[in-house]
Symmetry: C2
Subunit: 458 residues, 2 copies
């Protein structure tokens, strides 16, 4: 052991940080279906989105450019923690006894402890540039709310966050972190919004959901000209901002002299997964590499593996445009699992489209398998993962164990999108035998799907 020099991390210099975001849309064999206005059923135009988003982000949302320059003011902030490290999981591999080589791209070194600042910072930047004074948003586990509170603090803006009730109750430290950055947090459903009061009256909504919290944040932004709304996932521009992850990982794997045969990331709204995989998908579509690209979703909220590909609302109250995506139905409320960031009824339309094009696969994982994987990971790699990426780690371990059977030298790249410092109550439950797997029933999924809005075939 003393004589072995093995490399654990692959770092890049600041001047190797990507200076453009990658937009996958022009490289796809077909364009994704447009979002529709729920009143007219016509594709939404910039003017429909203007009450919620600044024009610069609306332009990115519909852009046909392959690369979009990252502004200097955003690069300046990125440079504090980017490029993030790519780790080789030597000790986990040893513990598994696998010939597979496992790499993980770690976004937990960011100020908010996750990949979320990659988009929070440009969103705050563009809003500030257009004179916006306050941003509203939803948050699940709290990583997105923390990231936006950090970003708005930098640009001297206000930040108001509706946090999903189940996470608000279970993870008080996340709220405190948001408050330390100067943000304001409400438990959702709240009585501060019309939609919160309406949905909160139904006891089934007591634990909240991302869909409900989005409705509340959207309502407040839509009613005030100085206020805009910021979304932490799902939309094209959010996925776009996250591609810095994959661009860096491409360079780092090159440094390591390795080519991935499997890329696996967890999917809630899909931004972390897209951020890691889209740049690799570009290389795959160009015929330069051929990794299997796999989404890991929670058994409790499996929009890709159990949902329908259809037009649906992004929020519970039906205030957003209709988006064609894999959905479990906009009023589906998933079990309050620990991976609060994955409790979203839908999937990013762009990922849904890529999935329909056959460019990727998905598998679902129950949460006890996730936490078994997480504890093994923590005790070998020394990082306690957030509950969300444990889904990807669990699938990485499944595949590494298959490689042990076959003897194949699989090269696995996974996204460790955040640390679990605010999620330790989940580890407590797991380690003390209090964690149960999600109750999943086809009937329940079918009932939620029955509420899908009717959209004329066009």
């Amino acid at each position: 052991m003393d004589d072995e020099v093995r490399r654990h991390k692959y770092t890049l210099d600041e001047d190797q940080m990507p200076t453009a975001w990658y937009n996958i849309i022009p490289d796809l064999p077909a364009p994704p279906p447009p979002p529709l206005h729920p009143g007219t059923m016509e594709p939404v135009g910039p003017e429909d989105l203007a009450p919620l988003f600044p024009m610069a982000l609306i332009e990115q949302e519909v852009s046909g450019e392959r690369y979009i320059d990252i502004p200097g003011g955003v690069l300046d902030v990125y440079r504090q923690w980017r490029p993030t490290p790519l780790f080789r999981a030597h000790r986990l591999e040893q513990a598994l006894g696998t010939p597979a080589r496992i790499y993980y791209k770690y976004e937990g070194v960011s100020p908010a402890g996750s990949h979320k600042p990659n988009t929070a910072v440009p969103q705050a930047y563009y809003n500030k540039a257009e004179g916006v004074k306050k941003l509203t948003t939803e948050t699940g586990a709290g990583q997105w709310g923390t990231a936006l509170a950090f970003a708005t603090a930098l640009y001297d803006m206000e930040c108001e966050v509706w946090q999903v009730g189940a996470s608000y109750d279970a993870k008080p430290y996340r709220r405190l972190m948001i408050e330390a950055f100067g943000g304001q947090v409400h438990r959702s459903p709240s009585d501060l919004t019309e939609v919160g009061r309406m949905l909160g009256a139904n006891p089934a909504n007591e634990s909240g959901s991302l869909g409900i919290a989005i409705s509340e944040a959207v309502e407040v932004a839509a009613q005030n000209p100085d206020v805009r709304y910021a979304l932490g996932s799902v939309l094209n521009h959010v996925l776009l901002h996250q591609t810095v992850i994959g661009e860096e990982a491409l360079l780092q794997l090159e440094q390591a002299g390795d080519t991935p045969t499997l890329i696996v990331g967890c999917t809630g709204g899909g931004s972390n997964f897209a951020g890691l995989s889209f740049p690799f998908l570009r290389e795959k579509m160009a015929g330069r590499i051929s990794p299997w690209i796999l989404a890991a979703e929670p058994a409790s909220c499996p929009s890709l593996t159990h949902g329908t590909y259809a037009y649906d609302f992004g929020d519970t109250a039906g205030m957003t445009p209709l988006m064609k995506m894999h959905t479990l139905g906009h009023d589906f409320v998933p079990d309050p699992i620990h991976a609060g960031g994955l409790r979203y009824h839908g999937m990013a339309p762009l990922i849904s489209h890529v999935y329909e094009l056959g460019l990727m696969d998905a598998e679902s994982v129950p949460q006890t398998e996730c936490f078994a994987a997480a504890v093994q990971f923590a005790r070998t790699e020394g990082i306690v993962p957030a509950p969300e990426p444990t889904h990807a780690i669990a699938l990485a371990i499944r595949e590494a164990l298959k490689a042990k059977e076959t003897g194949e030298e699989t090269v696995i790249l996974t996204a460790l999108c955040g640390h679990g410092h605010f999620d330790l109550a989940a580890y407590d439950d797991y380690l003390n035998g209090r964690m149960v797997d999600e109750a999943v029933s086809d009937e329940r999924f079918a009932a939620a799907l029955a509420t899908l809005p009717e959209v004329p075939v066009g």
Copy 2:
């Protein structure tokens, strides 16, 4: 803002990581006074320490070599997170409007979130090499316990931690993190040890102290041949291991083209402070640089500024050798401030010696000033500091504001030895007006000092 390219972090390649620890003792104008056996009042020999520590660490404790090679097996683990980044606090400087340049060396990127793994890993490594099965230790805020649990997990050893009662109650997530790594945690004073039962019977000891927790951990280790004890600070070999921090910072400031005029770090037991400052002190003693070296201690437990330089026990029950150090008296129980890691009655004998030699200064800071500084730091730099390093940040800000008055281009280097993800209840108290400053009275300090052991002048 868009056109400005300013560097936020200075990183080093893995091959620039120090491969030796720096031992300051041979460079000092006089050797530090030896620890004494409390029975014989003679200097302790290796055989006195053997029940508690492996021989390799005992040798390091008394070594006269300037440099001690870091074993390959330790470098292999260090390489996961080292070299750690040095940051330039551009945004904090702007907020203060100071001409001072402020740098902070950030150890929060380690698996345990602090500088503690720098010594936990070699301590576990050397114990493992000598066949030890289990390590016992104390922990205050929990950063040391987390680090040791991480390190023992890597080497497949057991870890049993006595956590100071006040911190155990206030910071449940720290315990959970230790458990996630596979360690076992007890609230101290506990009823598992003779000394815990004895001291726990006194209601004044209810909130515990590092001194009591040390006594408990030492008792268990001393009674079992397969078990050793690990200390997270104070001892020479612990300070030695931490010098990787300062060695890296020297290279990084060179990269930045800057020379520090002030080096400020917080002191509890002193290892973080020594780790940052000793390599710079070597350069200062050699006449190459001339920084002012300043320790920041809490007003509630000011061993350097209000203690006496005398022989005292390292623990409350008087089970350790007598060490000549700045002490408030071994049964002094500080107020339960949020910076649990600084609640130690004594100071590392080596730092005490350096202080007596006139090579450094110290100032104490009340905790509300610390948290005001911490919130300003978090909202500009994006990192929420642990309560301990907020003391150093507060003094850095004091000096940066002085520089604003004088116009001097002070260059400040401070140690951000850990993040505050497990300490957010303290921020909650501060932000909601519930934090009070420590009650400090000369009478109380004097009463504790009256219990110092009698040592024949030799």
